[in-house]
Every structure is written in C-alpha cells, then in structure tokens.
C-alpha cells in the first residue's frame, strides 16, 4: 500500500471510530464554553473589563480544551494493542502519526471554530476581530494538537499521566498562546495582524515537519 493511502486509511479509521462515539465529540466544546463562562462570574460582568480580557480568556480556554482532549489521541490504541500494529507497519511511523493527529484535530480542534462566535459574543469581542479569531483558531489549534501529541506519546504508558502531560505540554504552548491571543487582541483594536498570523503559519509548517519525529520516537519508547 503506498504511503499516501496508508495515511488516509489511518485518518478514515480514526474518524470512523470517533463517529461511533459522537456523543464524546461534543465534550471539548462544552468544556470550552464552560471555562469562558466562568470568567464573567469570577471577575464581574463590566463590559469594558470583559472586552479587554476577551482574546486572552478565549485563547486560554481553547488551550485547556485542546489539552483535555489530547488524552484520547493514543490512549485507546495503546490499550487495545493497535498501536503495536502501527509500529510494525512498513511505513514510516512519523507519517502515520501525522495521520492520527490530523484525524484527532478534525474531531476535537476544528469544532472549536463553531462555538467561537458565541464566546466572542459572551465576552463582548468587537465584530471586526471575528475573522482574525477564526484564522488564529484554524492555524493554532493544529499546532496545539501536533505539539501535544509529543507529550501524549511520552505519557501514554503511564497510569496517571494526565497531570504530567499538562506539565510537559503547557510550557511548549506558550508561544502559540502569545501570538494567537496577540493577533486577536490587535484585531480587536483595529490594528493589522499580518505579522502574528504569518508567525503562526510559519510555526505550523515547522511543527508539521518536526513534531512527528519525536512523537514517533516517544511512541516506540512507550510501547516497549
């Protein structure tokens, strides 16, 4: 089977598995909305305050939602042994891993775009910032999945890896958070956002090339 077919076979399989448990697919979305809802309750509902905080709050919540959904990336494959099958395949593991991350992002990252307008409304984010918020989500959520995959691959063999996973992954998320929320912040103020969006795109391309290698190496370590 050629490599490209193997890649799409993995994507198709993972999407099918996710679709069978579609009730779970909505969980990261609920979580995202819930976390954002907590902020007005905690700091008060003054419109000015909320508007100033909006980009940061939305992005920190997106980060946490992405982090929580990461656990499902390799867990079930690790438990039922299909991860070992994947390691035995003749194709380079890094490409197959990329397929798994892509499928995972389609299921958990992309839907965040759907609720983003609702959250922008809650936080009083100006309408002019909406396209930038979407663009930053499209570019940055796959980045979160790609970087997070390294952490999941390192901790999938652990019984209670959740806490360590966040300790490993969150510091690596810092640049994504800075540039993504920075872009939305500037858009809300009516400033150009080209630089931030370009940097996010560059980081995404870099991560597409670089992160599958350590993820594959870490999976080999975890399975042994």
């Amino acid at each position: 089977m050629p490599l490209i077919q193997a890649f799409f076979a993995i994507v198709r399989r993972d999407l099918l598995l996710a679709f069978r448990r579609r009730a779970e697919m909505a969980n990261p979305l609920f979580f995202f909305v819930l976390v954002v809802t907590l902020f007005p309750l905690a700091v008060g509902a003054q419109p000015n305050l909320l508007r100033a905080m909006a980009p940061g709050v939305i992005w920190v919540s997106a980060l946490l939602a992405a982090l929580l959904s990461l656990d499902g990336l390799f867990r079930s494959d690790f438990e039922d042994g299909s991860l070992e099958q994947l390691l035995l395949s003749p194709h380079p593991l890094s490409v197959l891993v990329l397929g798994k991350v892509f499928a995972h992002w389609l299921v958990t990252g992309l839907p965040l775009l759907l609720v983003a307008p609702l959250l922008a409304l809650f936080m009083g984010l100006p309408e002019q910032a909406m396209p930038t918020l979407w663009l930053s989500l499209i570019l940055a959520t796959p980045l979160l999945s790609l970087i997070g995959a390294i952490g999941v691959a390192l901790t999938v063999g652990l019984r209670r890896g959740g806490m360590i996973l966040s300790l490993l992954v969150l510091p690596l998320y810092v640049p994504v958070l800075i540039f993504a929320s920075g872009a939305v912040d500037r858009a809300a103020g009516g400033l150009p956002t080209g630089a931030q969006i370009n940097i996010l795109a560059a980081m995404l391309l870099l991560a597409l090339v670089l992160t599958p290698l350590p993820t594959a190496a870490a999976l080999k370590m975890s399975v042994n």
Binding site: I150, P171, V174, S222
Partner: protein
Amino acid sequence: MSFIPAPISRFFHRTASPPHFYTLADKLLPWLTVLFLLLLIPGLYGGLVMAPADYQQGDSYRIIYIHVPAAWMSLFIYVLMAVMGGIALVWRMKLAEVMLISSAPIGAGFTLVALVTGSLWGKPMWGTWWVWDARLTSELILLFLYLGVTSLYGAIEDKRSAARAVSILALVGVVNIPIIHYSVEWWNTLHQGPTVSKMDKPSIHISMLIPLLLMAGAFKVYYAIAVLQAAKLELIKREPSAQWVKNLLEQNA
C-alpha cells in the same frame, strides 16, 4: 558507530563504562574542587569588596555576580542536557543518560536561583517583588521545562525507558527555548507596564566584569563537581548488583 575511527570509539567506550567512569570521577573531584575555590574566592572578593558601587543602583547591583552566572548556567545546562539526550538516543550510551538525568536538578536549582535573586534585585529597583519582565518570564518557563523533565523521569518506572523519554523531551525543549524566548520578548514589548527600567547593564566597567567572569567560571566548575557526584549515585542506583559495585563495597568495608 562505524563512521567514528576505532581508537576514538574505544576510548569513549572505556571511559563510558561505569566502573571506569566512577574511578575517573573520584580522581577528578579534588582537582575540580581546588579550581572551584580558585575561581570562587577572588570572584566573591572582587565582586563584593573590590568593585565600586554602581552609580545608579548602589550596592544592590552586587546581586549580579550570582544572578547573571546562574541565568547563564540555567540555559547552558539545558542545552547540555539536550546534547546528552541526542547522544543517548543515537548511540544508546548509558553514561549520557546518567549525565542527562543527573544534570536536571542542578539546572533546575540554577534556574530557581536566577528567579529568586532576580526578584530580590527587582524589589529595590522596581519597588515590587515580581515584574513580568521578558527575562524573568522566560526563566520561569525554563523552570517549568526542567520540572517537566524531572517529573517525567520520576513517573516512568523502567529507568531505561524513562531515560529515553527525557532524552526526547530535552531535545524538544531545546528547540522550543529560542521560540519561547523570542515570543516572550515580543509579548513584553507589546504589554510594557509602567515600570520600564530593566536590569540592563549598558557598558559594564572592567572592575565589575572580571569578578562576573570569575563567578561564571566558578559556577561552571561547581556544575562539573555536582554532576559528577549525582552521576556517581545514579550509576550505583542503576546497577546495584553489578560486579564493580561489589568491589566498591569490599574496598569500603
């Protein structure tokens, strides 16, 4: 590996064998201790006594002689850990794994020192214990990276797997450090608070520079001493029933 000349690879394998390394460390340690004191004592004397007070910051600037070398060491050790990680992954060299994991607490210690002294320096200069200054923020994230390494190593039961895991993590971290650094720098210029004064040292006078370099040298040698001590412990922990450990016990008895 085949592309390394045989005598060199023999040398490395001999040096890297645990008993040989253990005795080598014991031979090196006294010399390193002497070198450490030779750098530390003039460094402290020059920094705390000889160097004049700063015309703006008074004597409070003397924290520089530990703050800046500690911050240098915190980065240096992380990069060194990534190099060890690379060696451990490519050549499966046990000694590189041992050195990597022995370095982590020392590097975390230096990072903590850089943070605490930065805060203690910032209080008289900025009037507050903590400012989200670019350097302090990067240093804080570096501390999290170190803690990630130590807690991942602690969490994985099988220490061979744990060493591979932290090797991968150290390499991933070292690629991220410059990205984190520049993103934090950019973020800092964007959200510049009311306190603009930074701990910049415009052009440092020679009488202040010499003790700074001496202290930086002393910290490097301290790291060598501390990492050898930690590696000695780690080597015994890894193979407590090996023949060379038994010989060691007989020597001690």
